[in-house]
């Protein structure tokens, strides 16, 4: 087993919640709470969860767009959390991000050519004379014509803008791209085009993706491994086949059940979760999910579950008392 490209260990990101006239910190928002996972080179890790679960914050914390509160992030063996600003700038060549909102992701008053040249100029990629040619190549790779160079972002559709965003991320030849809900804002017919493009790019250039999404069907399609988040914690992590065929955590089960399938045969005979997602500022005691869990036991209210590996030939991590042999399921 080769060395993972990305190793995240016990990563946490807390936000202080200020209140009062003199900005006394009243409470802490645990947006990301002790998350650990790894990603192999050239593969895709799907991070799935609902709004407020912390997946976007996690993606940004890995890139140090938010500064992690604690924990470690190793990219290709190199610890990112301790880099100084100069080293960090150099490290940014290896990791990029594409965003959800194609309308806000590109500078409105710059042409495509300037948007794509900026990373090349900043990181001094290739000789200056060759960079324009490189911009043309990037546009070609993402399936846009070369005339796009002199146009402005608002002249393009959402799907095309997303392609420009992907071209910008590719410009520095990163090893890891964080795709934060990259296709969620696109129409269905454009979504599949962009997903295919990302798969092609992975095959061609060996770039790894951290694919953050709330759409389980999309995640299944693109990922090799999947992590399910709830209230800042990873509650289940495994290969995509296992998560979708043998979900172990009750929340994963509920998520999978809740997805409306384009199949009229399957109607309303599924488990609908009760209640609302608790506030991340004031999470429940014990297991964060116990307030909505159909299989909650008394221990779930008191004790936070440990991460257990229930997999046989491959890793399948679950944070749930139901799967913890050390806990009495009384």
């Amino acid at each position: 087993m080769s060395r993972p490209l990305l190793e995240v260990r016990s990563l946490s990101k807390h936000f202080p919640v200020r209140a009062g006239l003199f900005s006394r910190t009243r409470a802490v928002l645990r947006a990301v709470d002790q998350v650990s996972f790894s990603l192999q080179p050239g593969q895709t890790f799907g991070l799935v969860g609902e709004s407020g679960c912390g997946k976007s914050t996690l993606g940004r914390a890995i890139l140090r767009l938010h500064e992690p509160t604690s924990g470690s992030v190793r990219l290709d063996g190199r610890e990112l959390t301790t880099l100084d600003s100069r080293q960090l700038k150099a490290a940014r060549k290896d990791m990029q991000i594409i965003f959800q909102d194609p309308y806000a992701a590109l500078s409105p008053r710059r042409t495509v050519a300037r948007i794509l040249r900026e990373p090349l100029d900043l990181h001094r990629i290739g000789a200056p004379a060759s960079r324009d040619r490189r911009v043309a190549e990037l546009l070609d790779v993402v399936g846009l014509s070369i005339d796009a160079r002199h146009r402005y972002p608002h002249e393009f559709s959402g799907g095309q803008r997303q392609r420009i965003g992907i071209a910008r991320a590719l410009a520095v030849e990163p090893r890891l791209i964080v795709a934060d809900e990259a296709v969620s804002a696109l129409d269905v017919s454009v979504q599949s085009q962009v997903l295919n493009l990302m798969a092609d790019l992975q095959r061609e250039f060996g770039v790894a993706f951290l694919f953050i999404a709330h759409d389980l069907a999309v995640v299944q399609h693109v990922s090799h491994h999947v992590g399910v988040m709830y209230l800042g914690q990873l509650v289940e992590t495994s290969s995509v086949e296992r998560i979708y065929s043998m979900p172990a955590h009750p929340y994963t089960r509920a998520l999978l059940d809740a997805v409306p399938a384009p199949d009229p045969g399957r109607r309303a005979d599924r488990l609908v979760l009760e209640g609302e997602v608790p506030s991340p500022i004031d999470p429940p005691d014990g297991c964060a999910f116990h307030t909505r869990c159909p299989r909650a036991m008394p221990v779930c209210r008191r004790l936070e579950p440990r991460t257990i590996d229930i997999g046989t030939n491959e890793q399948h991590l679950v944070r749930c008392h139901l799967h913890d042999p050390g806990v009495e399921s009384a």
Binding site: R60, L63, L65, L88, K89, A90, R92, K93, M95, Q96, I97, F99, Q100, D101, Y103, A104, A105, L106, S107, P108, R109, R110, E118, P119, L122, H123, R134, E137, L138, D140, V141, G143, L144, S145, D147, A148, R151, Y152, H154, E155, G159, Q160, R163, G165, R168, V172, E173, Q193, N196, L197, D200, L201, R203, E204, F205
Partner: protein, 308 residues
Amino acid sequence: MSIRPPDMNPGADAALEPAAPPRRTPAKSLWGRALQRFAGDRAAMAGLFIVAVFFVIAVGVWLGWWGTQWSQTGAGQWLGPSTEHWFGTTILGQDIFQRAIFSTRTAFEIGLVVALASTVLGALFGALSGYFAQTFIDGVILWIKGVLDSIPFYLFVAAVAFALKGNPWAMHIAMIATFWTTTARLVRGEVIKLKNLEFVEAARALGLHPLVIIVRHIVPNTFHILLVQATIVFVAAIKSEVILSFLGLGIADGVSWGLMIAESTTEVMAGHYMNFIVASSFLFVLVMGFNLFSDGLQDALDPKRASR
């Protein structure tokens, strides 16, 4: 990494088919679209016309084409309008028309200098303040702004004029020092909104230095605010000059409408109104025209309609 186009979906290139041109082609760039909108706004075009006429007058004075005899005395006191003196003369026998024309140049000078300088300062401090909002830099800038805002304008100007006694730029400096705060406040608000947008995050993810991000990515997206504010400050400067001249704190050499109005207070008592009427009318028309122009500009540049 060698870039070779991978085996793409053949239909993907159809993604960039330019559609057949629509009936009325909207211009390509954001500025072009704004220009089209502006041109279609009649009040705005009228305003632009008025401003242009006055601008030409001002340039002509500056180049020495007309208005050169503004200070010449001795033509005879309070003559009525005649072919020689189109608007008559003042108490010192100076040609009112010549003085009004010359004042146009003064007005534009003050307006342009103050508008330009205060907009630049406002953009600079507003952007820094907004990007580093809630930090020390923001705190310092906000404090300076607060202090300047709480000093009554004319007291401040009087103080500066006194301190810089004899300096022909005293009034300009005083105005710039107070007018930049409004621009800065508006820019700060806009920058706070902009800095959370994804394209700014993308710039950070690339590793760009914050100052580069501010100058290259953020400030250009505030141009619509800056342009409109500049025109507002222009008008405010001209109007303020009128009152300052009234208070004797105005320009030292040359003449302005403010000075003319100030002089005319005694004349009006004696029943001679031409000086006052002419100066006020010129002032009124220019301010009116500029306001129309400014409103039109604001509508045309409204970014909610400018993009998408």
